[in-house]
Assembly symmetry: D2
Homo-oligomer: 499 residues x 4
Amino acid sequence: MKTPQEYIDSLRKLNLVVYMFGKKVENVVDDPIIRPSMNAVAMTYSMALNPEYEGIMTATSHITGKKINRFTHIHQSVDDLVKKSKMGRLIGSLTGCCFQRCVGMDALNALSMTTYDIDKKHKTEYNKRFLKYLQYVQDNDLVCDGAMTDPKGDRSLPPHKQSDPDMFLRVVEERKDGIVVRGAKAHQTGAVNSHEVIVMPTIAMKEEDKDYAISFAMPSDAKGITYIMGRQSCDTRKLERGKIDQGNIAFGGHEALIVFDNVFVPWDRVFMHKEYDFSGQLVEQFASYHRQSYACKVGVGDVLIGAVQTVAEYNGADKASHVKDKIIEMNQLNETLYCGCIACASEGHREPSGTYYVNTLLANVHKQNVTRFPYEIARLAQDIAGGIMVTCPSEDDLKSSEVGRWVNKYFQAAKSVPTENRIRILRLIENLTLGSAAVGYLTESMHGAGSPQAQRIMIARLVNMKEKQKTAKKLAGISEEIGQDKEGQDIEECNHEDQ
Amino acid sequence: MKTPQEYIDSLRKLNLVVYMFGKKVENVVDDPIIRPSMNAVAMTYSMALNPEYEGIMTATSHITGKKINRFTHIHQSVDDLVKKSKMGRLIGSLTGCCFQRCVGMDALNALSMTTYDIDKKHKTEYNKRFLKYLQYVQDNDLVCDGAMTDPKGDRSLPPHKQSDPDMFLRVVEERKDGIVVRGAKAHQTGAVNSHEVIVMPTIAMKEEDKDYAISFAMPSDAKGITYIMGRQSCDTRKLERGKIDQGNIAFGGHEALIVFDNVFVPWDRVFMHKEYDFSGQLVEQFASYHRQSYACKVGVGDVLIGAVQTVAEYNGADKASHVKDKIIEMNQLNETLYCGCIACASEGHREPSGTYYVNTLLANVHKQNVTRFPYEIARLAQDIAGGIMVTCPSEDDLKSSEVGRWVNKYFQAAKSVPTENRIRILRLIENLTLGSAAVGYLTESMHGAGSPQAQRIMIARLVNMKEKQKTAKKLAGISEEIGQDKEGQDIEECNHEDQ
Amino acid sequence: MKTPQEYIDSLRKLNLVVYMFGKKVENVVDDPIIRPSMNAVAMTYSMALNPEYEGIMTATSHITGKKINRFTHIHQSVDDLVKKSKMGRLIGSLTGCCFQRCVGMDALNALSMTTYDIDKKHKTEYNKRFLKYLQYVQDNDLVCDGAMTDPKGDRSLPPHKQSDPDMFLRVVEERKDGIVVRGAKAHQTGAVNSHEVIVMPTIAMKEEDKDYAISFAMPSDAKGITYIMGRQSCDTRKLERGKIDQGNIAFGGHEALIVFDNVFVPWDRVFMHKEYDFSGQLVEQFASYHRQSYACKVGVGDVLIGAVQTVAEYNGADKASHVKDKIIEMNQLNETLYCGCIACASEGHREPSGTYYVNTLLANVHKQNVTRFPYEIARLAQDIAGGIMVTCPSEDDLKSSEVGRWVNKYFQAAKSVPTENRIRILRLIENLTLGSAAVGYLTESMHGAGSPQAQRIMIARLVNMKEKQKTAKKLAGISEEIGQDKEGQDIEECNHEDQ
Amino acid sequence: MKTPQEYIDSLRKLNLVVYMFGKKVENVVDDPIIRPSMNAVAMTYSMALNPEYEGIMTATSHITGKKINRFTHIHQSVDDLVKKSKMGRLIGSLTGCCFQRCVGMDALNALSMTTYDIDKKHKTEYNKRFLKYLQYVQDNDLVCDGAMTDPKGDRSLPPHKQSDPDMFLRVVEERKDGIVVRGAKAHQTGAVNSHEVIVMPTIAMKEEDKDYAISFAMPSDAKGITYIMGRQSCDTRKLERGKIDQGNIAFGGHEALIVFDNVFVPWDRVFMHKEYDFSGQLVEQFASYHRQSYACKVGVGDVLIGAVQTVAEYNGADKASHVKDKIIEMNQLNETLYCGCIACASEGHREPSGTYYVNTLLANVHKQNVTRFPYEIARLAQDIAGGIMVTCPSEDDLKSSEVGRWVNKYFQAAKSVPTENRIRILRLIENLTLGSAAVGYLTESMHGAGSPQAQRIMIARLVNMKEKQKTAKKLAGISEEIGQDKEGQDIEECNHEDQ
């Protein structure tokens, strides 16, 4: 396993083509806007080497038997699934942001199942290829970006009907040694911190779309790949002199559009090629794993709750009963989210490939709650933080020789707390509820791993409604169902035997 | 294990003193108001004999090695805890009501731990007594009522300060062969369907209250025990000729006040006697198990959702997008509850006594959600059911030779559905949202196993707030915490190494 | 204006055909299940004679100039509209139930506008007829049932396509002296307490449905009219000996199906006859007025809040901060409802007929909140009331010579409060949240004056979305809109003038 | 009345001492961060001159009889109060931000009542002074900053007990010609766009705090006054080259701390001087008016709803039923807020001074809803906007010669909509939900005019709980109340007369 330093060194060796604010970024690793997100990924390396977290952060490779970083592991048991959820909360609670590495883990696990199932039906050899690739990832402890979301153009049309055929990523040329692909993947969290990009289709497809039913992996600096960074709220605070106004002094996130401009992919890195009948399965499996991954937001919630308890103390308001009650409510919501990611894992099962897979219904239910509760937690946080969170002067004012004394004097609250500390914790809450981390904690919670409506469709499909109706009718005495089965007999038996 | 018939026969042999509507009930077993609740308990017997449910409904006694009903089992593993949650949902989903038997199971499990811990500290022999009693319960497959809630009188005073000393159950005489107790236990769900009553104290106590720190078990028809039945919404519909207006034609619940009027308890049935220092622990352990037990409401929710889907079809409204969306929301809420009872079980652990105990924090979080979501599910159910749920004529009108034809004609909706079926399913929804089952589904969800505020106090106590604050401060750069521990170093390392 | 006694005497003279529990009710006025609802209507008479309420409860007829009961008044000003909302809250707060008389007032006001508008277009004389009828109602201070909701059969089909043509009320014969109608009206609150029934169509119609586009008024005991009473939760408690378990000892509501079996209507009581193009308008106007009428639920909320504050004091819990906070929340929700019914009135306007009409958008917004907030208020009420609300023994037990002393002893809480009083207030809360008044406070709030989705459709239609989009685009600098209008210039002016 | 140009010219003549980012701002009027907020204030001038808005935006001075800007008017009728609410929504809906001028209007109106009442009790002459000052404000059409919130230091201590006596603004010297004051006012929205600062105390006070019971007005550039600007989310985007990423291309808000460093105030500008017994009244009256002023957020909500409808169309998702339903919900919440600000105005009344005053209870209820609903509206907005709102590249990328074609190509959705327009509307939604306008729409909605708990305390105080309890007891038959009053008789009469 790599050390954080080795991880960062390895990124330096990459030759990524990254654009931000209309200009090419010459030094990606040291760019002050990108660096905090890289720090968060680096935590996945340093924590794996920390004996305290070893049980959670590492696993034993089912291919090589070696100890590996859990982010490169294929889940071999329900316990692995549960540990994945705990790992998400843990790192979230130590970074206060998205640490980006789960998406690759989820892509690997989904591919471990889908490649196996394609082979079974189509007598292909994707799984073998995939396992070889997996070992490469495990041996080199790599960060993979799992790239699913296409630009999609006109939402009402399938890929092959789009006026611009590149609105979904596709094969444009098939060669002896591989394929050439074109298109783009949007909303790629942490893309430029990755060694590899694993591409998957974004929707279920029919035969007409088979050129779009494509999955493969490429080094992140492959020829033809360009990254265009997305803006985030308060992104340029990271360019400022001081650290205080950033809120989170160490960690952050980033988003990028990845453009594939006629990228060549050799066959041994292709994991699905026109097997459109498996496109839907791959999407669903990746999505389910990734909905579980929103365990991380519980950890970010921990940070926000901790910050709010601290600011309540700094404000001298922590003893007020309504403040205590609101903090309980924040915990209630946060722990309810935790229940969701634990339950979908502990109710997981083994798939034919041997990989363990989460309970799909509960993973969707979990993610649906994630699209709601962090917003309420953030609202309560703003309630307790007070208006000063958005009226507080800048770090430069605090340290100004002219007005610094006034900022220090008038923003002092609890006597023992330096004004600077109060401002620091307020900036962290601002960061998490309005600033750059709000992008990760709120909007990403809404849309990451699928927007809310996507989960609702799955929930409607996955609940066993027939079973529920059967009992309801039976209990209401509606005869079409009564007496037809065992439970019917049970009711009859209990109800009538002595009468 | 008993058959349902043997269970009912065994109840006939009891000599219970039960009052209802001011009169003594001469035949408890066949009383039409009580019987539906007895039918629900009988389901816990019939299902245990049904091979389909065997894995969930039965367990292997850790004392005798025999196959026993899970309701008499002491949890020996996390898997046992998870199965308990599943059993609750399952029976709830087949009866649409409270099946009453969990409270005894929870009392037995809590006592298995507390008696062990008392013995350890006080060199007593409660655990041995308890295990002997447990074997008797297991061997005879008995229903135990777990009786905790005292009347409490003036809520602001401890037991010994009450103007009426009986407001908490207490020892009034200590004899060679046992003790004499006086007091009452309120809100006893399913009390008159039980063979045994297991009494526990209701709050943490100090030395002054030691006469109240008492736990024991007695046969339900012991001398001096009187039951006074509580009223429920729509209770007397069960006395009417027809079954339709009952809503649930087979099952129901009941509540009773149990009065202990100088009841003698022999020593071998006493499990705590003035060890006031363990009163709080017993309460907390019982409460945590019992909060988990609200898994059953997920099952009742299943019935309500099934009924609502059915009525939507009967009304011809099941294709409307808002109806579909509301049913998804009902499922989302119901499955979120399921996550709670699964998570608190799967995160359980082994206590020194060997008994497995739920995660207390998550059990409280789960129960807190139970005090909310069923109300919203019920509101959505009433939305979809339509106003007819509360304006529909009686079964007697439906069957009347004079107006029956009009009821049949004008309450017909979807052509293929007999009006009677539509009315039946509406009555089931009424039963669950306003009627006698609403008492169990809603108000009991609110107050059973502790009112909402009780859980909030526990949540405040159980979350690790210090840990959350530590990271928040670290991320905000507040120096009191930085660099003091490993994670601090991690952050430093990630953040600064190349700079 | 009639006295309450005269009102009740006038009902005795009616010859209503009423069925309940499959039997004809011989003495409607003194029937114990019906009587509480009649008492509530009687309050609309007694309060009008009470000088304290005169300003709210009475008005000056715009036809005769005489002082009349406001329930028979056509709104002549915004102040009239506002007073109508206040009257609703006031009577609701004194009866704790539905007082049934608003529906007739809303029908009269809607007809005062629609008959005028039909005449204008079709050169008919409905308005003249209507005003004559109105004077009769005012002079005799009558209660009118406004009957709109048809059974509707298959919801996906219009009236003329129903397999049973009577699923919407229709003209079956046209005669020289009048028309013959057949059909039914469902969910008729307070129907059997009325002197008159005013029938209106239930949906917008096209030409094919013109036989269904019909409005008229008939005496409630006209030949061919039959009432079939609906059941309510806990209805038969009103038949019991004591009063305590009823909860509300004086007032209640009722619902009925009205069957029109070939009823002859003379021309001078016909207000719309096949003018299908005005069916939609009449429905919308009646619905808007009637949505405003849900002001009454604010009054019922007042009773519930008062009961909850009282039970908190009786329980000795009124000082607990969470109890105080929940009661504040109940008030917050209740007063938000009040804002809705006041705002839709104060934003009202004069229609061509001279009648003042509420703001339709806000009336719908108000009613939509009524479908939600009472449920949350009720949930909070159950929280504070405690589990005893659903486990408390009957009045007969309380007064029993055998167990009464125990009920008295063990259900005593705050020392100074007789147990009976505590039980009485608990029964009132039960009545309002689970019992017969819950039908009126909750389910009627959901479905009365249109189910929630009906309001949402209206809201979507009534908000000025184009205007909102225009400014949004302007502020975003989207050029299709900029500079085209005055405000555009304003922005330009403010933004650029010195630059 | 001034033109917008005259307003801006008048600001240029001021000699304000403003600090931002640690430096003195030399040209306040043209500062790119401050200017958008000034533009919003300028709208209050331009709209007053626009005949279309004249009725709402202007009024007739009750002192001079001249036509004046409504923002300088003392409310003379209920209609004035209602128009104030409508004006707030209107300007909010045209600027999409806080236009800052209401706070001065609210201060003037509160002082018009409190100075009158002080004079009455203490035989002082504040009201005369105030009216002279008012005429000066009206004649010169000035913007006044109403400055209430002190830094407050240790929240648990009153002013005179603070370790730093300046934590509340106070008189430090009393001179023949006036007083000298010291202290600060925090959270001053739009402070540097004002001609005048009107200072008021921030809490009810006792005699010991009389040096703090002080109210006065001063020119905003008086000697000793310093402004320190607060930071806002995304504030520095206003410094960037392009306009697109700002979101709102024209308008914004700002916040400042105002420091009073020994400022001399002549007697004719002092409106309260140590009359501590009126401090609480002034706070309450100002707060109530200012809670009504949150009508403006309804207007900002209009902009957000318009933006969301537009982005739904641009995304090609506006026909999806869940999207339509979410937009209905946004409107439902927004119009419920509107009901609040209309109702508290239309229920207003005349005070002894002749000024019309809002209904205090409903103004608090309104503001309480404002602390909640905008957050839910914003959440729904983010749901519909899609993840692209936070992953979209910068304007510089869009216009880049290197990557602009890709941004244009891959962020195109509905074919007819230029990518730039889609990005513009997304940036507006970002601005309103995460960016600089979110400060005004969300956090200011939470804390402006008092934090949520402040309203709850008022609500608890203002509801007539005794009245509610009286009826509840009466309806439950609790005898302590029955028969004691008229309504009791009414019930008796209705209930028993024929029995």
